[in-house]
Chain length 241, copies 2
DNA sequence: TAGTGGTCTAGACCACAAA
DNA sequence: TTGTGGTCTAGACCACTAA
């Protein structure tokens, strides 16, 4: 499973392997991971290398290590929505809600200047514009306006995005996976159009997030605007000294 | 400087020492830290131990390591406000604004049930209540309502908190330092009283943060509510895949 | 007592940056 | 070429947990 001749560091290969297993759900939350000596013989690397991989997982909050007991898979937490790129569906699951989606608009548009700038392309570059209403337990919770660089995902509009996650589709059809994203969080008033879709009065407070997502090649590919109903959505995080 | 007989791990002592130096500003942002071999001879520990300390600092974003060049002190970023416990003054500095404060209320009150619960004490326990208007470049930006457990900071109300940071005062007089904090971020409407102080219309959107801060003994000591003007304040952060 | 993760060491080779 | 940080090893002792 681990390739010692690869240019990817061994500890990172171990990390990716374990991380994949955890995210794919091969171990339930709370499950005991193999002990360090077992991982050593399984992957044929030294203890320090194994521990380097576990350190990464622990730093991400994916595992919990307890001296004398073992290493456990952590339960996904609400705080992950502020640290990790999480899909709407995953986010809702963690909150104990059922997610559904309604596509409001799907078009090809030329990039307006301010969006072109965030995506680091020329104004007028062709974008895929996707506007979706996100519901939690059947009630409107958020509106997402995605702007994707068309040249990275031609033909995306032909896909059925009502029932299929955009994230999976980008991965499977175009090989696009996010590596990281930067976002800005604000409180704003609901514009009439948005308010109507979210079924709140115009002017109600919304939690607004603007996010630029970068592909694994570290290229900005998506500019996303999300409007969450202020009365139904909040963010959690933990700060360090 | 490093005590090998201490029960605190060596790497953590090195980490604390370097971290303190960086936070106290002994190195300017962008400054070159001593190279690893130098730290080894300086602290008389092995390279792995030094690197363990540097890994922590790097994970916090306090340093940037570049192969072949060296290790540099990172410039404080706006994103730190979402990862680290940052004072209002520090936050404003990073945004290029001048911070000032007006004390609106300072009292001793019995803990209301919902606050008592967050602080893990009985309702009625005595609290120090401190309401402050925070200004940026002379204009109202936020209102902070702090609730502190009185028994940890008796006599706090006698202090001059107009010109002195609460954080420094708690540290110097009571030995209270925050180790971590949990917070919830929401978008809400400005209530009339808050709106008046912030000089915005009632009902305007505010970014609202509720935070419980834990002392180094891991005891919740402060419950804080902050109301930021939505038009003048936003949060930044970076997400990982 | 046996097994777990936590800490620490000395030493090695590598890739990258700068002079 | 020199010095930097990046990776990796084998081996050791310790503290904690659970049986």
């Amino acid at each position: 499973m681990i390739d010692p001749t690869s240019k990817v560091p061994l500890y990172h290969q171990v990390y990716e392997t374990l991380r994949g297993g955890i995210l794919r759900g091969e171990w339930e939350p709370g499950a005991l991971l193999p002990a360090e000596p077992e991982l050593i013989s399984q992957y044929k690397v030294s203890r320090i290398t194994i521990r380097q991989a576990l350190d990464l997982l622990s730093g991400e909050g994916l595992i919990i290590r307890q001296r004398g007991r073992g290493t456990f898979v952590a339960a996904p937490s609400l705080e992950q929505a502020m640290v990790r790129i999480v899909s709407f569906t995953q986010d809702m699951e963690q909150r104990g809600l059922r997610a559904s989606t309604e596509v409001l608009a799907a078009d090809r548009i030329p990039a307006p200047p301010h969006i072109a700038q965030k995506l680091n392309v020329e104004p007028g570059e062709e974008l895929v514009y996707l506007e979706r209403l996100r519901l939690a337990d059947g009630t409107p919770l958020a509106i997402e306006e995605a702007h994707l660089l068309h040249r990275f995902c031609p033909g995306l509009l032909k896909a059925n995005l009502q029932n299929q996650s955009l994230r999976n589709h980008l991965d499977r059809k175009y090989g696009i996976r996010w590596s990281r994203a930067k976002q800005v969080i604000r409180a704003i008033q609901a514009a009439p159009e948005i308010a109507r879709h979210l079924e709140v009065p115009t002017g109600d407070p919304l939690l607004h997030i603007e996010r630029v997502s970068y592909s694994q090649q570290n290229v900005p590919v998506e500019f996303l605007r999300v409007y969450y109903r202020g009365d139904r959505y909040s963010l959690f995080n933990e700060l360090q000294a």
